[in-house]
């Protein structure tokens, strides 16, 4: 790697000071599992890296209050995967976290980094969208909270302003009788990026929501209120047609992992799998 200078502020104020001095050329690093790969492969060559891993205000934490669960930006993907609150209230996020990279990557990568990189294939994003996650951003100007879909703007693009940091992810606790599941297609079980990834939600009222990743510049959510998708009496063919229709909004690309046609075709298949699993979970659910 080309030489660079390294800064490791311990709190937000000293971080702001450093960023103020360095200007826009500095790169933030949390786990480094994506940033260091980009440096090693020559895609970026920063002169300065600001390691934000030790900043106490954005530290790793998963805390519950009456209305939501707050996840600190520095929370490791492996900590999300193995947390009992996440497992209880946001099971599809647990599943999604468990499919990020490999065990070695999950032990280093953070949820904040996963979001700020804004990869269209980010595994946690479809689940976070389904759970209506909000993002708290902080800067010298104060803080603001925005919905995740307003934070992710395109491949590698977010609503982060220069000098702004992601502090926490806010997950509203479920209030409806609902169930979710996560499905992912990849060439290799460990490490590989998703060809497509999907999180499906079934609500007892009959409403269905499906979040789709790796099939457009940003992950998106489609909804169906008709109830036919989880009606046991509806013919399979009708359900399949409905799913294909819902997935028309996708705009997948062809790359080394798959062609756009294959991605498009697999979306309905994966959505169906995810919905079947979510439906059976809903049926066997005793509480809320």
């Amino acid at each position: 790697m080309k030489p660079f200078n390294y800064f490791a502020p311990q709190d937000l104020d000293s971080c702001y000071e450093i960023v103020d001095k360095l200007g826009k050329s500095a790169y933030f690093m949390a786990g480094g599992t994506d940033l260091l790969v980009r440096i090693k492969t020559g895609r970026i060559s920063p002169n300065e890296i600001v390691d934000i891993k030790n900043i106490k205000e954005i530290r790793s934490r998963i805390e519950r209050n009456e209305e939501w669960i707050e996840v600190g930006a520095l929370t490791l993907i492996s900590e999300i995967q193995h947390n009992s609150l996440i497992e209880k209230y946001f099971p599809a996020l647990k599943e999604a976290a468990g499919s990020v990279g490999s065990i070695q990557i999950r032990n280093r990568a953070t949820i904040g980094g996963n979001l700020c990189n804004a990869s269209p294939a980010a595994d946690t994003v479809p689940a976070l969208l389904i759970y209506n996650a909000k993002i708290k951003l902080v800067s010298t100007g104060g803080s603001r909270v925005i919905p995740l879909d307003q934070f992710l703007l395109g491949p590698g693009k977010t609503a982060l302003q220069p000098g702004e940091l992601l502090q926490t992810i806010i997950l509203p606790l479920p209030t409806l009788r609902q169930a979710e599941s996560y499905e992912r297609l990849s060439r290799r079980r460990g490490v590989d990026l998703a060809i497509v990834n999907i999180c499906a939600q079934v609500i007892a009222s009959g409403k269905v929501r499906v979040a789709v990743g790796a099939a457009g510049p940003v992950a998106f959510v489609v909804e169906d209120q008709s109830g036919i998708l989880i009606n046991p009496d509806t013919e399979e063919e009708v359900k399949n047609e409905k799913l294909v229709e819902l997935m028309q909004i996708a705009s997948p690309i062809s790359d080394i992992r798959a062609s756009k046609e294959y991605r498009q075709a697999m979306l309905a298949v994966l959505a169906k799998r995810a919905l079947q699993r979510a439906s059976s979970q809903l049926n066997s659910k005793k509480e809320l």
Partner: protein, 160 residues
């Protein structure tokens, strides 16, 4: 020309404390191999896909090619050399030899560290657990089954 700083760090590797001066762009893997002569961890893909550089940092399995040495100040690292005792291999290392789980040997230190991490957290894994635990490690010659046999043999003995 722009100058770049050296950074002092104190790290503990396999139970021994070291004080080092490192450059910011040096990875943990580089300083283990080139400065400390600890050559168990291997550089293969260099981008976190193969697991050949796996070490434990504060007990967690991590790819040492994707960690800067400067980030490691104050941390505890264990490499394959840190298992067992001088002159005596660990149970898991012995199991790899016994099962014939080593061919060229390049992936072995990373495989063993990933497997050790599994056994530290789950002393009695199923075959599926072992396969999942090793899914971040590539081997291009033995074909995995003997590696899995080796890890399971330790799990069954219950002395991870």
């Amino acid at each position: 020309m722009k100058t770049h700083s050296m950074y002092p760090i104190h790290i503990r590797v396999n139970g021994i404390n070291y004080g080092l001066e490192v450059e910011a762009q040096e990875t943990l893997l580089t300083i283990l191999r080139d400065k400390l002569d600890i050559t168990g961890p291997k550089e293969c893909c260099g981008v976190g896909e193969c697991g050949a550089c796996t070490v434990l940092i504060d007990g967690k399995a991590v790819n040492s090619c994707l960690v800067l040495a400067v980030e490691m100040d104050g941390h505890d690292i264990v490499t394959v050399e840190g298992l067992g005792e001088p002159g005596k291999l660990s149970t898991l290392q012995e199991a790899f030899i016994e099962a014939g789980a080593i061919q060229c040997g390049f992936c072995t230190p990373g495989m063993i560290m990933a497997a050790q991490y599994l056994l530290n957290n789950n002393p009695h894994p199923t075959e599926e657990d072992v396969r999942t635990a090793l899914s971040g490690n590539l081997c291009r010659c033995t074909g995995y089954s003997r590696i899995i046999t080796a890890v399971l043999s330790v799990a069954n003995k219950g002395e991870a």
